[in-house]
């Protein structure tokens, strides 16, 4: 069986190789801090396997994460000169290669789809090929590796160091923002252990006047969005808001259809996700990947959609649940 942990080791190994390249890159004024950040990230990816399986203590990894936060947070990481082709060379190469360039890029989704559909649940000698529940993650991994092979063949690129170097430049350009989504996931779990959710739930339940179903619908939906805005994750908001309002008031009290209330409630939370820097993987990482000057560019593009869509959710729930 092919396990998702193997795939995390591969990513860890890529980070480590890149860390060695960074250490040797004398064009980077902060090469030691940069190499330390990505090296720790690589080691963390591999060590985490045993943390997840409860076979190793989590504390060393926690220390490593905090060191990475300090390295990134105090500007001790940087980037080297990007050694790549000029824009003229790229134009020339695009003219020569034409649409063949799309083949490797499209290999990623094609392989990912095959893994998620055809290979899913397939067995060889009584064993499933892909670990159950990880088919899409593994599909992305296989897709990327297959695309790299296809790409190197089509482009007649012989040196494996070239794609690693190019990938490293993209990573260096993103910098510490890479770690932010995982840090936020940690913050979310600390919030729930410390009982932040229950507190917010109590406050919202207190502002709720009794007996007015449609007001309760609005409070539930807006509460989901606001709570998600704070936590960065609708999944963290859902159990709390549902326990405070969704289940007792809307479903049991007012007799709402649980399917509509819960499905639309979750989507109301997604409207909050569109607007928060706390959901870094959806909102901040794209800004760095696209090399935007304004880190909040994607959020600004999404807010005018999120607000009317939240209103739509309130209307949909009001009409169909009761």
């Amino acid at each position: 069986m092919i396990k998702s942990e193997w795939f995390y080791w591969l990513i860890g190994a890529i980070f480590l190789v890149m860390a060695v390249q960074m250490l040797r890159d004398s064009t980077n004024p902060k090469r030691y801090g940069t190499a330390a950040f990505w090296g720790l990230l690589g080691l963390g990816f591999i060590y985490a396997t045993w943390v997840v399986q409860k076979q190793a203590p989590a504390e060393p990894l926690g220390v490593a994460v905090l060191v990475m936060a300090v390295l990134g947070g105090f500007g001790l990481t940087g980037k080297g000169e990007r050694r790549t082709t000029t824009s003229e060379q790229r134009d020339e190469s695009a003219r020569k290669l034409g649409s063949k360039l799309f083949i490797p890029a499209l290999t990623i989704p094609v392989v990912a789809v095959v893994c998620a559909t055809v290979l899913k649940g397939q067995t060889i000698g009584g064993q499933v090929i892909l670990e159950k529940g990880s088919e899409t993650i593994l599909g992305l991994g296989f897709g990327a590796v297959a695309a790299l092979v296809v790409g190197m063949l089509i482009l007649r690129e012989r040196r494996v160091a070239t794609p690693i170097n190019e990938g490293r430049s993209l990573l260096e350009a993103m910098g510490w923002a890479m770690l932010l989504p995982q840090m936020l996931a940690t913050l979310g779990s600390l919030f729930s252990t410390a009982g932040v959710g229950e507190q917010v739930g109590k406050i919202t339940a207190n502002v709720l006047p009794s007996g007015q179903t449609y007001v309760a619908v609005a409070v539930y939906c807006i509460g989901m969005a606001v709570f998600t805005f704070v936590m960065g994750n609708a999944f963290a908001a859902f159990p709390v808001m549902t326990a405070a309002i969704g289940w007792p008031v809307l479903i049991q009290g007012a007799g709402g259809d649980p399917h509509v209330v819960l499905a639309v409630g979750m989507l109301a939370g997604f409207c909050g996700t569109l607007t928060t820097p706390m959901a870094a993987n959806f909102n901040i990482v794209p800004a760095t990947l696209l090399e935007l000057k304004d880190q909040y560019g994607p959020i600004k593009a999404q807010i005018p959609t999120a607000i009317p869509l939240l209103a739509c959710n309130i209307v949909i729930m009001s009409i169909f649940a009761f």
Binding site: S87, L180, L190
Partner: protein, 232 residues
């Protein structure tokens, strides 16, 4: 009540534009300690959190091949391609991408798009290319806006498509939570169909805003083009 201080740290930190990594680390430590965890438990929580959230970082696996293709002109070729499709304006192209992203996500194919896999190498260059064909070189501010809108089409399409698919995390979270907490039995499929009305609204609203981007571009750039012509 006092545990809410951690939330205050986050809001204050982001408002004062402090480095987000530090803000989040400090907020986590404050919340953990106020919530009654020992310092050792707080450190362990950072380790556990990192370990169990690695899946959000897996897009890194695609960066070497994307970087390689960019080196050989993938973004330029994406622009060339859009240049041949005369009717496809920036707004129409992004609406089309939004639609494709929603439909594929609804079929459970959430990983075929994304900021690293599709937006940076293909969608953003094509959206820019469509505007360049019409208005020539784009000012920085316009380029930023087109890229931001490209990213938003990807995210909105994913969010309001994936919930229609029954085996997606959020639907399973709903059934898992209410079935264990309240002892009911909700079927994923009967939940997933109720994601459809919102999905349609999301397409209409965000699609309308994508098409409005064309009007904004026209207002913003027609003047610039006219100015260039007179200088000639």
């Amino acid at each position: 009540m006092i545990v809410l201080l951690g939330v205050a740290v986050v809001i204050l930190g982001f408002a004062l534009k402090q480095n987000p990594l530090l803000v989040v680390a400090v907020a986590g430590i404050v919340t953990g300690l106020l919530g009654g965890l020992s310092p050792q438990q707080v450190i362990a929580a950072f380790g556990d959190g990192f370990a169990s959230s690695r899946s959000v970082t897996i897009f890194v696996i695609t960066l070497p091949v994307i970087g390689l293709l960019e080196r050989y002109g993938l973004q330029q070729q994406a622009r060339n391609l859009i240049g041949k499709l005369a009717g496809l304006t920036t707004g129409r192209f992004l609406t089309l991408y939004l639609f494709i992203r929603q439909i594929t996500a609804a079929l459970g194919l959430t990983n075929i798009g994304g900021p690293a896999q599709s937006v940076r190498p293909l969608v953003a260059p094509m959206a820019e290319g469509a505007a360049e064909r019409r208005y020539g070189p784009l000012p920085e501010r316009v380029r930023e806006k087109i890229r931001s809108y490209s990213s938003s089409a990807d995210t909105v399409g994913l969010f309001f498509g994936e919930d229609i698919f029954i085996a997606i995390g959020s639907i399973l979270l709903i059934t898992g939570f209410v079935n264990t907490t309240y002892g009911t039995h909700l079927e994923p499929l009967s939940l997933a169909i109720w994601a459809i009305p919102t999905a349609i609204c999301a397409f209409v609203i965000h699609g309308y805003r994508m098409v409005s981007l064309d009007r904004w571009l026209a207002r913003e750039l027609d003047a610039a083009v006219a100015k260039r012509e007179t200088v000639k």
